[in-house]
Symmetry: C2
Subunit: 125 residues, 2 copies
């Protein structure tokens, strides 16, 4: 059995609250993370809330990277969802945690799209 | 304790493979799901792969709804991530599973951003 996708779910606490409320910084950060892990960016959407907080998603050819921030709690929820063997989602997760200066971080990895392998090694469902 | 966000992760199998490869259908589907669950759409990004497959994200004021499809396996990975008490992410998940005609479905719910409550009921970290 193998999985079509790897989905890393990051809980980032005690972050720098200034950057959590800076959509331009976060856009650059997620794009840099996408490149760092070997992904190809195909679209994005960022939104700055009033009075504070940002929701951002970078759509990548290998799935997506998303962030939702609560500057008032110095907290960010980050997802790095990738498929294929040529990307390293951990690299993206590590870079984002560093850029946000997260004091505490936890990570869950889920495998998405579990497939059985056929005799020739291709996936079958 | 309570959570800032609810994150539903859907595994949809044995879907209608035609709709899994139709970015316009999926765009309408995710936007309809966002409205259905009471969310406000603030942005989107959809990408149609060659030879097949779609990656799509609808950025909502309450977080995001994403889909990644593998028509060749009749499989879609769907995430419905919401915050606040005024949205019902299950409604979005249910609608998407119906629209994709998923024969098999499984769902995991994760709570994101666990907070302790202060004496006045507001979250503290």
């Amino acid at each position: 059995m193998y999985a079509l996708g790897r989905h890393l779910l990051l809980e980032l606490e005690n972050c720098n609250k200034e950057v959590l409320d800076d959509p331009d910084f976060l856009r650059d950060c997620l794009n840099e993370a996408a490149i760092k892990c070997g992904a190809t960016v195909v679209g994005e959407s960022f939104y700055h809330f009033s009075p504070c907080g940002v929701s951002g998603v970078v759509n990548i050819a290998e799935s997506h990277i998303s962030i939702h921030t609560w500057p008032e709690y110095r907290y960010a929820a980050v997802d790095v969802f990738t498929c294929g063997d040529e990307v390293a989602p951990e690299e993206a997760a590590k870079l984002i945690a560093q850029k946000l200066e997260a004091g505490n971080r936890s990570l869950i990895e889920l495998r998405r799209g579990i497939m059985e392998e056929s005799r020739d090694g291709s996936a079958v469902k």
